[in-house]
Subunit: 511 residues, 2 copies
């Protein structure tokens, strides 16, 4: 029996689709600035795809250092995947050539079909594909990213296969995405690092002429590497199927959905298409609510909630209630977070007298803190062990709250001065102090890292300095905590997570 997760088998057709050993790509030359295919191939190489790549070009001998072929018929093998980034009008002919070669999986990036009312063209493609028995993604899509791509026959070795527009920038992970927007399926790469959001697969499905969001859901359900599912939805074609799928999946794997077709403006932008449930926000709200799909309202929320879930699912720490402890080193952020929590319907309970007494022992002697109220206000400095370990653990094991959001996790970057060139900070005794502070901080975080798992108690921190400026954020991330830049980002994320937990609780889903 094999224990390595990546060796578990998955028989869904998309599994083979996303793990090609060889790829033919149409439409890449070396015109980086004006040719999408060139960018996409470059990105595939740069991201380290290790399978065989065959650029197909009628004239060029090579593309980006790879040997090019005039026609797919010339290839020394039947590639596992063909990618097409060519002008609309020649796609049908290329589809025939692909079919004749015997290729079974195709990504059609090219636009100019249903979205431009060229329904006939799209229908023609479907018929060609059907006649040869191949499946295709698109048209009008950007392809996919698979951070666990198996590229070798008879081997479970993995590499990153990403031929969207942008570079994959974090570690491979467990969050899988299906997106009806190619841009979002690609530009999210710019937004993941600071969230420590690690992707598993990301599929840009475009017009869904053949492969649709239901296929993706069905696959993500079966895929052992996918633990959290994110969806960007403009319309749903197979409404009944979608409903059945999400109902079955959400008890096992959380689904977060950004649906933009519901408002008047959104529906107009998306445009409505026959057979789709679209344009009715209420239907979607009911559907999402009943099935436990977490509906969010922006890309930021989609990624924030996805990042949080991926960490919490791993340690089985989805909170099962909406009682929140707000902890802060200052009154303003505390009040702001309490205000937003209240607006969202979260419960900020008063701590029991017993818990208050326990907390008071560790609070500094400024009287604001002595109240041990919720929000719990530390005011000024407190030693890192109290901040990261003692207080969170008291809250976690009290059973009085289901999660905690804490403003003010700062590293030494807080002491970065600029104009005098850090002259004073360079003094030996100051450097010693800052080093000591950093070590104490890191030791405290390290000793606290088991709290969320042990007590099934999510802990979110806020640091306004930001990921790219304060190294401590990466340190906290790597220890399994979540760090947000802004108070409302953390509160909103907690709100969504708690709603999902309450759904699980209501349906008696034990984990």
């Amino acid at each position: 029996m094999q224990t390595n997760k990546s060796t578990e088998s998955c028989s869904h057709f998309l599994d083979k689709f996303l793990n090609p050993k060889s790829i033919a790509i149409y439409g890449a030359n070396e015109n980086l600035l004006q040719n999408m295919g060139s960018q996409q191939l470059l990105n595939m190489i740069d991201n380290g795809y290790k399978g065989r790549i065959y650029p197909i070009h009628p004239k060029l001998e090579s593309v980006w250092t790879l040997k090019a072929y005039k026609k797919i018929a010339d290839l020394p093998e039947i590639p596992d995947l063909a990618i097409v980034i060519l002008p609309t009008q020649i796609v049908p002919q290329i589809f025939h050539e692909i079919g004749q070669k015997g290729v079974k999986n195709v990504v059609l990036v090219t636009a100019g079909f249903r979205e431009t009312e060229n329904l006939k063209g799209e229908q023609e493609l479907k018929e060609i594909a059907k006649s040869y028995g191949f499946r295709f993604m698109g048209p009008n899509c950007l392809g996919f990213q698979n951070t666990h791509a198996k590229y070798k026959e008879d081997s479970d070795d993995e590499c990153i296969l990403n031929f969207t527009w942008t570079n994959y920038q974090t570690e491979p992970g467990e969050v899988s995405i299906a997106s009806q927007s190619g841009t979002f399926a690609s530009h999210i790469n710019f937004l993941m690092k600071e969230r420590d959001l690690n992707m598993n697969k990301c599929l840009s499905i475009g017009n869904e002429a053949d492969i649709d969001i239901c296929d993706c859901l069905e696959y993500f359900e079966q895929d052992p590497n996918t633990k959290v599912i994110l969806l960007y939805i403009e319309e749903i074609k197979r409404g009944r199927k979608f409903l059945d799928l999400v109902k079955r999946i959400t008890p096992k794997k959380p689904i977060v959905a950004l649906y933009v077709g519901g408002s008047e403006g959104g529906a107009k932008a998306v445009a409505s298409h026959t057979g789709a449930i679209a344009g009715n926000d209420n239907i979607f709200n009911t559907l999402f609510k009943q099935t436990g799909v977490i509906r969010v309202y922006s890309i930021e929320e989609l990624l924030d909630v996805g990042a949080a879930l991926s960490k919490l699912v791993k340690i089985n720490a989805i909170p099962r209630g909406n009682r929140l402890a707000i902890v802060t080193n200052s009154g303003g952020p505390g009040a702001t977070m309490a205000d937003l929590s209240s607006r969202l319907g979260l419960n900020i309970p008063t701590f029991s007298q017993e818990l208050q007494n326990q907390l008071k022992k560790y609070l500094p002697h400024t009287a604001q803190s002595r109240q041990a109220s919720n929000p719990l206000d530390y005011t000024f400095s407190i030693d890192p062990t109290t901040f990261f370990k003692t207080i969170p653990e008291l809250l976690a094991k009290s059973g009085e709250v289901d999660g905690m959001v804490c403003y003010g996790a700062f590293g030494p970057a807080f002491f970065s001065y600029r104009n005098f060139g850090n002259e004073i900070l360079k003094r030996q005794e100051i450097q010693k102090l800052i080093k000591l502070f950093t070590e104490m901080f890191e030791a405290a975080v390290d000793s606290a890292k088991r709290i969320p798992k042990k007590y099934k108690f999510p802990i979110f921190y806020i640091n306004p300095i930001g990921y790219f400026k304060d190294d401590i954020i990466d340190f906290l991330n790597k220890k399994g905590f979540l760090v947000f830049r802004l108070p409302d980002q953390a509160i909103k994320t907690m709100y969504y997570i708690m709603r999902y937990g309450i759904f699980l609780e209501k349906h008696k889903i034990i984990k």
Copy 2:
């Protein structure tokens, strides 16, 4: 007659308060990690305050290289300002010493008064101050930042005076802030650079025992350097005065307010105090709406709207309606923005046939774009002049929309690959292409920079790569555009700005 704005006089008492030529500071030693006073003095020096600083310490000979004095009585002059960061119990005595020296302006950072129900202590301070005739900020505050501090007798030379916790990181500007949270009055420094938000003054007013938010408003109204006012409010003590002030100010200078005391959780966190309008969201909503105060719901929104207003006020380009053009290089962000706009009640009008015909001439031949609809979808690459100049100008001068939000302003950072160490990107012909692209981009932006002013037409861009990664954002910022990281950030900001513009229009305020 003097024309330099900074030489205009302002007789409000806070003007002298915020422009001290000499400062006494109590409570700084050199314990950087555990002593607030030490941090605050260090920050004052580091930010380049050029007036005379007198640390007062009973034992030390010097603090951070400055000569220290045992008592304020020992100082060679009466300082213009005294800052007190000492334990609560000795403050009354220090207040007497300060009064006896003849100091007229005091910042009391120390906490432990009204917010801890020590009303008697706070009353005592007020009486001492009154008896000596000095004014004070606080207690329980963090002081202030003045980026235009006049530090010299008989001179209008300016420097930055900032003794809050954090370093001022952008250029001096025209946005002034009054905050009942010291943390926000300081931590906003971490959040300004990427917004190109340039501050004028920022006052942390704490418990408002003496100087309150109404004093700040009165001063900001008179201060010629303040063009935009931001407020963080937990409670308002002088409700009638506040109402009169904002009513008078908003037609001249926009006021943006984050009020957190209105919800149950917010009110509980803030706690209610006698004589304050607090805890009733409806009263505040009505008050803000009637007086044209822009009410926002998070620190992010406060800063985003502040940054936008500071640029738009300067060129008199506050939009006077809610008709928005959404422009995008991709469908997904376009649909997302249209959806949010619609939820917020913005109008995304269909363009007239004439405007559509004009637009179509410049759109690439992918049919999505040929529709020239709103959102206007460019899909893939378009030359920078069309993107930054031609299309925005057509929209601006059409009179059919009041503003524009555009997704996809990317610089060469878009082409940053990582794994092959940019080998291919280093090729000479590719470098030439990217250089050309950058030059074309910059020339286009440069030629477009007059559009917002000329047509009173705000233009916001979105770039998900982010300020710290893509230099082009700073370039756009410096040309007067606004660049946001996320679609909903841009749309929400536009929504707030448009609401303010409609208020101005309704009240026939001509600018």
